[in-house]
Symmetry: D2
Subunit: 332 residues, 4 copies
Amino acid sequence: MGVDLNLQAELDIIAIGRACIDLNAVEYNRPMEETMTFRKYVGGSPANIAIGISRLGLKAGFIGKLSDDQHGRFIQQYMADAGVDTSHMVIDHEGHKTGLAFTEIKSPEECSILMYRDEVADLFLYPSEVSEAYIKRSKILLVSGTALAKSPSREAALKAVQLAKKNNVKVVFELDYRPYTWESEAETSVYYTLVAQQSDIVIGTRDEYDVMENRQNTKNEKTVNHLFQYSPELVVIKHGVEGSYAYTKSGKIYRGKAYKTKVLKTFGAGDSYASAFLYALIKGKDIETALKYGSASAAIVVSRHSSSEAMPTVQEIEKFISERSEEKVVNR
Amino acid sequence: MGVDLNLQAELDIIAIGRACIDLNAVEYNRPMEETMTFRKYVGGSPANIAIGISRLGLKAGFIGKLSDDQHGRFIQQYMADAGVDTSHMVIDHEGHKTGLAFTEIKSPEECSILMYRDEVADLFLYPSEVSEAYIKRSKILLVSGTALAKSPSREAALKAVQLAKKNNVKVVFELDYRPYTWESEAETSVYYTLVAQQSDIVIGTRDEYDVMENRQNTKNEKTVNHLFQYSPELVVIKHGVEGSYAYTKSGKIYRGKAYKTKVLKTFGAGDSYASAFLYALIKGKDIETALKYGSASAAIVVSRHSSSEAMPTVQEIEKFISERSEEKVVNR
Amino acid sequence: MGVDLNLQAELDIIAIGRACIDLNAVEYNRPMEETMTFRKYVGGSPANIAIGISRLGLKAGFIGKLSDDQHGRFIQQYMADAGVDTSHMVIDHEGHKTGLAFTEIKSPEECSILMYRDEVADLFLYPSEVSEAYIKRSKILLVSGTALAKSPSREAALKAVQLAKKNNVKVVFELDYRPYTWESEAETSVYYTLVAQQSDIVIGTRDEYDVMENRQNTKNEKTVNHLFQYSPELVVIKHGVEGSYAYTKSGKIYRGKAYKTKVLKTFGAGDSYASAFLYALIKGKDIETALKYGSASAAIVVSRHSSSEAMPTVQEIEKFISERSEEKVVNR
Amino acid sequence: MGVDLNLQAELDIIAIGRACIDLNAVEYNRPMEETMTFRKYVGGSPANIAIGISRLGLKAGFIGKLSDDQHGRFIQQYMADAGVDTSHMVIDHEGHKTGLAFTEIKSPEECSILMYRDEVADLFLYPSEVSEAYIKRSKILLVSGTALAKSPSREAALKAVQLAKKNNVKVVFELDYRPYTWESEAETSVYYTLVAQQSDIVIGTRDEYDVMENRQNTKNEKTVNHLFQYSPELVVIKHGVEGSYAYTKSGKIYRGKAYKTKVLKTFGAGDSYASAFLYALIKGKDIETALKYGSASAAIVVSRHSSSEAMPTVQEIEKFISERSEEKVVNR
């Protein structure tokens, strides 16, 4: 894959960022105003990825901050039960709450999220709470873009990147852009550029790279030419139903197709994609296979109700791929 | 009742303050960590009181601020359907969210609330959004203590009190103390004292009056002697299962007993009490009868799942009173 | 004067609010850009009034908060040396700075102030730092309007008013409106109305009363008719060079003329007016005499470089009045 | 010097960061409480350096934000008169004030500063106000550490670094650590490490490098070994009266001695050092000579009253060096 992992490292991946609560509409295919019941799941991109990677049998850890209440305790228990190492999820003692995402599913094509992200606990992870000894124990550090949205979580994530680079832990940057947490796109662009230039692998949608570049409709070639002047070895750019592209520093380009599936909602596609793609890379599979794993995992999750609990096993992914070897599916 | 209402006024009561969302545990009698589904209701003390009074057949209005999203629209629609005049519920355009209350019912005796109140829309009602012409149209202005917790909602409520007094609209102050929204008890004491001194009727629990006085275990006599030097004509002090006391400026004391009932949860008791008590006063009933209405309404609501949807009709209250004419019930 | 003071009280007046630093242009009659040297004085309306009253031989105290630095220590020493009781000036331990006012004197008619008021120490006086025992020791509590501009100073001032009223200490409200510290005129109006209604004496310029009423060009009669429905016994409305009017609840109206003088700058006129006017009232002089004292004191201060150090003695005021018994002077 | 400058670039240096007001004690050698008069100068490390470099005959520009008031206008005029290009100093329209520094000179050894830095204009430079076209016009971008202390100035400075690197403009990082503007040393360490790793030249005191490393008493060798793994070519570490050391990536070490002089105050030593040191480098002088220029310039400035106006000319520096060719002087 062009990215040499430290195979001695005990953990396969450590994700840093938010672990939140999704409140998914029980009665869906209608406006949220008419939904009267909501089902609780763990959510948040890096939490979903850590859970997804654990579901696939690898060893994931998490660095994050949890509210000191029922929601925080639920998240920690759920992630521990899913096999994630939660020893570095710290408890907030300043009264901050867990972030919430109420999901509205009007139709498979019209999904939206009502977010509660004001002063939430995950944004109050302090740089002093990021441990060099812990990061050293992992092959990969996965940074979620949203962790960069506000101080002090921003500095905690930047410090984690500095420690990873110092200790030869590979850095994967999942752009995960959520506009509501940022002051401006100009601000996002500064930090996305900064971290992308220092990462080994960058994963995002075309739109997210446009935000990073503070420009619109850039060509993929321009994006990767810029990034390959810095640390990145592998850049993945997702184009929704048109599939995704993986570029390597050595000049190779791979295209992954999106599988067609019965979509219940679009949430969770990106997180399931990332977890299966990284799983395959860590397992030493080639990039083409990794792209298939990513697409298959996304296709499975969008057909189910949640983003975290829906994460597939290796058997499910492989069964899906073999059944659909000729098909194309929606992938976001 | 010692309080002369302007009988010409078109609206019986206008409540000012918060209208929020309650998310009540569907699976209860367990810790919230184990509750996976939540049911959505309108909540917030003054909203509950306005809905309760409408349910009893009177004409209620509301001054408040709603988020510009699905939760805000749900609240406005629900209250309008319940008969509340929502013409002065303004929409927030600064991105603030609706306040949330996740209710945990471990047992009928162990209920707690997980609150989302950071920067919520109701606290961003501006004094310029309070209309003198509207307040003039009502017999009573009901101020909820929580509306005083933060600026600019604080100034909006203080202005409403000034306009009510100027226009001979009676002011009812429901102490409704929620510690998490205030900087300190010293701050609460300043504003509670200020508004209580200017109100015609004050309603609260013994604990809430202690917060107002920034002191512990004050005798009711001391509390009412202080307040009767100012505007109040009627002071109601609630003592939980021991019932409630109503004091008049003319020196009369009335005791209301609490009805025993099968308690599902304790939330909503105070709001249902206030709405039925005020209903009776507005209808010209004597204070003893009003205390009975309040207790009966509270007993009915605590046996049901919600605080707003559970509000009883006059028929239900009167049937309850006649059935239990000899009993005593839990009232909070 | 229609205001009965508790003659047993040890202190004549306690002022609550800000004590700051003025940095007055040493080279004046030019734009501040061209002023290279600034002279340091104690400033801030209530501090100036306390110093002015002490200079006149009465006993003044002060409730306020000082920065824990050289400026804070200078203020405390200067006020103590001026005879003010500084035992209730508390030191800030949260890192807040002293407020600053750079004064620009382009010409006697064109004076402006460049203010540093962001997060300054005086606005962080907490209600818990206001002592009932101290307030009881005074005949008069003087509240400066600017103390109401932000929490927690706002609550400290409101609490002081509550304690004064409870203990029969007369409340004087000096409107002292400074737009930069307030969120909006609607907010100012709410608190100015609140405190004015509870005060015994209100002093301000016509413009300041307009802010209180959130209206423009109100007639004095309308203003005083409103206030006399509440606590005020005496209302002073200043009209700049046209002089000032004092209205009593009993229906009397007095006009004070402004003395003509050689004006160096206009700053400090209001504070020197208030201190001499209140001095005369406390000394039992009639209102006409008090108005003269106020005008004379203002005329003396505007001819000098500072606002605090310039405060005149009784001898200076009386000499001035006798010399100018026929003249009219600029008074703001 | 190991740093290849783009000799075609029109400007020699662009500094980014704060331009403020110093208020220096006119009566000194005493506590500030006893100083009654203050003299106004332009201050702030990057402004002083830009002025110093202009005084030496080079072409300096400045990127920063100024208050929309007399102080802001004074700064812009003073810097323009000093020859600095002020075309990219933008005016704040959000009401922020100019930062202030009151200097206390108790004795030449006991100098302290009373800072006004809350919400000051220079910290509100937005990344969108940093122009790539402008940065391209310079040989060097000088970043002052304090510009990184708060958003959005932090993002503006980070963006400037990204644009400089992209356009082959050399980056000089002057650590300029001021504790009061930062949340924590952990936060400072993250950003100092980030920018130092991306700079070509880093200049600071031993104490400032300790803050960067979030460690105490590190050996210089450890510091430079770390930095030379990244972009830096030249690292200058200052040790006060013991002089300064310059390390090059190629392994050379140079020691500069401090000149003995009659010290009036210690302020301004670092800024005058940096401007003369960079002047010499830009002029193509060797590092040993540059260290002498830096020390001489510092020695001259600490013997004078201000930091900006005191900046020496080339003739003064060269005369000083030739006169003191054998001496050692205090340099901070």
